[in-house]
Amino acid sequence: MSWLINSSIGRKFIMSISGLFLILFLIFHMLMNLVMVFSMDAYDMISEFLGANWYAIAGTLVLAAGFIVHILYASLLTLQNQKARGNDKYAMSNTKDASWTSKNMYVLGFTVLAFLALHMIQLWYNMQFKELIGAPDAISKGSELVVPLFKNIYYVIIYLVAFAALWLHLTHGFWSALHSVGWNNTIWMKRLQNLSYVVASIIVAGYAVVPIYIYFFYQLPI
């Protein structure tokens, strides 16, 4: 199994599988969020259900492992690639046809990571983590945190910017991940690239709906 770290295609394979796993998670998480648009009570039921119990914790650990693997490999690949490129830079380079996104996956990934840190502190820490350590002020009803958060325009904007970075990451990431595992050919290339835009847009729209809905339309019960 050492080829998964020693060979370039093995490393890409891990990158691809971990990326696709994170996409699956994103879809799952998005569907849960969307419940808020229909019923806050239903959403609170889900968030209570995913508190500090063994299946929610197991899920969290697997997810964290997915993120860690993806980020470690991303850093490893980026470092190795800079080394392979060498220190001599071109005085003039006009090869701009390759998309900006594809060349800046690490930058975009880091934007997502910075957002992730904020997001974990704001929500996960106050909910699952506090419940786990038995803190008395742990919150189990998600809406108690989410609604005030998105009544604040600054946080709405920060979240939307992060979603934009995620959108870019996914427009390249989705087809690239399939390409990395060998699932591509001349006929499917254009289709997969277009499909990437569809997948990225659906995911990001699903996330963006919630802060926008809460900020503009949701009335706090009196």
Partner: protein
């Protein structure tokens, strides 16, 4: 209409592999737009020799786009600003009166500079030696149709075989990756029955050699495909990934 133009060229000069390089600007008068880019460098070198200076070292051989030895990063493009041609096929009519043309060597850790514009591309030969062949003599050309090959396979193999191994893909890649080259060499054999038998073994050994030589990890940016003078498609890379992963999973 082709006219004669006066230009400046900004050329990378580097005495040796270990030496520090720098740019030097030379003026050239009355260059015919009908001449080729390499003829322009020949004229420059004649001018330098007559002036008692060292000529610019650059790679060239067939000068008809088939041998793959010419290189050069011209005005920020591997093989110059024209589409789908090699540097030796580039003409001066792509440039105008008064232009300053920047000429650099391939820059990638895998291709160290030997002198001036000449880089060491031995790494590609080493990768080919690691498996880019068919081990047994498969005899002369068989009768047509005695060995049926689907047309789309024959065409994809021929398209991949168009790779001349010039290294523009590595030169253009932000990751210094040689995947387009290796994938073309793996594909041209994997799609035909004579090469199919060893296809998985070949993918493994060529990729191992490529990694060992320090080429980067492909991140599917597609810059290589855009700059390739022979239009090699990055879908070959997907095929290489498939061959390699398939081989490893069966191990």
């Amino acid at each position: 209409m082709d006219i004669d133009i006066n230009i400046k060229v900004k050329v990378w000069r580097q005495k040796g592999p270990k030496e520090k390089g720098h740019f030097e600007i030379y003026e050239l008068k009355n260059i015919s737009q009908g001449s080729s880019f390499l003829e322009m460098i020949d004229i420059l070198n004649e001018q330098l020799i007559n002036g008692g200076e060292e000529p610019v070292v650059f790679d060239h051989d067939c000068r008809e786009g088939i041998c793959g030895i010419c290189s050069l990063y011209i005005n920020g493009y591997p093989h110059g600003p024209d589409e789908d041609i090699t540097t030796c096929q580039l003409h001066m009519r792509k440039f105008n009166e008064g232009d300053t043309i920047t000429i650099e060597p391939w820059r990638s850790a895998g291709f160290p500079v030997i002198k001036d514009l000449m880089v060491d591309r031995t790494a590609f030969d080493t990768i080919i030696q690691a498996g880019g062949y068919v081990s047994v003599n498969t005899g002369g050309a068989p009768d047509a149709n005695s060995l049926p090959i689907p047309k789309h396979n024959a065409e994809a193999a021929m398209d991949a075989a168009a790779c001349i191994g010039c290294g523009a893909c590595v030169a253009a890649c932000k990751n210094g990756s040689a995947m387009l080259f290796v994938s073309a060499k793996v594909t041209q054999l994997a799609l035909l029955p004579q090469g199919r038998t060893e296809a998985m073994k070949r993918a493994k050994s060529m990729v191992a050699k490529m990694d060992e030589l320090g080429f980067g990890n492909c991140t599917n940016t597609g810059a290589c495909e855009v700059e390739c003078p022979k239009n090699i498609s990055i879908t070959n890379i997907a095929r290489l990934n498939y061959e390699f992963l398939n081989a490893k999973i069966r191990d």
